[in-house]
Symmetry: C2
Subunit: 338 residues, 2 copies
Amino acid sequence: MKTHIENILKDMENDDLQAYLLTEFTNIEYISNYKPTSFAFCFIKDDPVIYASGMDMELANRDSSIEVKEFVSFKNIIDDFKKEGIRNLAIEPTLPFNHYEKLKDDFEITSKTYINKQRMIKTPEEIYNISKATEIAQKSFLQLDILNNENTEKEIAFDLVRFMIENGAFRESFDTIVTSGANSSLPHAVPSGNKLSDPILIDWGCIYNGYCSDNTRTMVYTEKQYEIFDIVREAHDKAIKAIKPGLKCCEVDKIARDIISDYGYGDRFIHSTGHSLGLDIHETPGFSVRDDTVIEKGMVITVEPGVYLENEFGVRLEDTVCVSGGAEVIGDLPLVID
Amino acid sequence: MKTHIENILKDMENDDLQAYLLTEFTNIEYISNYKPTSFAFCFIKDDPVIYASGMDMELANRDSSIEVKEFVSFKNIIDDFKKEGIRNLAIEPTLPFNHYEKLKDDFEITSKTYINKQRMIKTPEEIYNISKATEIAQKSFLQLDILNNENTEKEIAFDLVRFMIENGAFRESFDTIVTSGANSSLPHAVPSGNKLSDPILIDWGCIYNGYCSDNTRTMVYTEKQYEIFDIVREAHDKAIKAIKPGLKCCEVDKIARDIISDYGYGDRFIHSTGHSLGLDIHETPGFSVRDDTVIEKGMVITVEPGVYLENEFGVRLEDTVCVSGGAEVIGDLPLVID
């Protein structure tokens, strides 16, 4: 975390910026090890400081590796900063407008992605945590015995979460998707109270030591479902094979998208090919049409092509890869589930 | 929802504003019945419209009561709006800065709380959903048999979530807090793998039909714990008794805070007395020192005083009340659990 702060301070120095405000809970956790539960304002500067809410002071003092003060008011922060001679301020791109409004008259403000740039490259410890989360999630999935049961989508989703927690996860990393039949054509379907029909699409993950996992498998049954499955599998496999440092993220998206388009389903691949993950389930960069970030060693990104046929069914296959010389798939769950 | 839009349009007309941008998922759900799963931009104007992500189009077309278009780019929206002669734009106070940046050069932008003002006053249907969520959550709590068991905090938290889902909830309304012994002095403690010690503090709720419930109970055992419990109960009861339309929110906070201060624990009541809830677990207004909103019929707000003795223990008691002539407590779970 000390290194992260030093790297950000270097970027700030290059842009002649004096302080950098972070408010997203995972950004503050990444920098300080303290994850706010209510609200907090973290400022990276020569002597970094977090203004935490009163109710978090015990937790913040226990967990934070940087100085913690109790938040009193924005006026109080502005006064502190004026005494220190701070005239300009970098902010997270996602800072809520009402916070920006409180600060804009006293500082020259610029939105900067320094924190995202740091979080893109995972440390070996972060990769370990993501791998461990994936291991727990995949092991739990195999405990489900999906293929021989009479349960509803909701019950399966619930069992999966229970297994993940029993196997050592903190909790699910996002609302578990268990969807089947025609509902599977909604990429983010909510599990229903209906018994499983076919195909069955499950998109799930858990959190281990703060870090997320993310996988999707689709179990297919009819000839048409198998046909779509094979197309999606080809896109999945070839995209993963192509990933290497130096390539742009959008080029990986293009590989997956071109394959699906060649089979005539380009307009039915209705989302990006993948997203980074870490402390958050969605991080940058992503394998999308518009993202021209250059791939680097240490990035951890999902590859999840899909084809969605409205009112019929959907197929998605998702693995998380870690970039080294090429892309290594995290976990060892096969794409075809018997 | 039509009424909500009409009310907001009236407020906009008074301020001479032409369009109002909403991006928070629950704000869009409140207005249109469609809850985004990825991102969306909802504009309230004479002919309201939602720009949804491609992957959400099937869902949005199915659920939304207002027109849906597929999001292409900000430029595309700006072009549409220029054609319509829109020169100014109201935004949610919480709009992320990077969205504001994309729009600020083309429109005169003002932050407005029209949507919060609407959501403050719950309709009978919304109150029904909150009551139903509370009923499920309280029934599930009583299934726990906490007082005679050897389980860990984590296991109890998990059982509670399972019971709530089995009893008809969609899921928990926030990460369930089960904490005991010295950990209970952290208002937002994370359940540990330790067996329950005393006192036991449980803060939990679920979602029914989109709407949240929120309750806290503390089971106390020692003389000192009973002493603190009685103080917190007095603050809880007297604050609820005082609530009525016309009073300011901060006045309710003061009643609870003064009682706890009179017993010498004012500096150990380290959060607000309560918050509104609905589609979100934290809404405005709240019973806090700084909130001078006037209480109105139809508001649904929690009352949750607490006393936290660092390294010793904490006690919090929380009920959700609905304002009519006075305040009616939602649910019937006693404060003392035998």
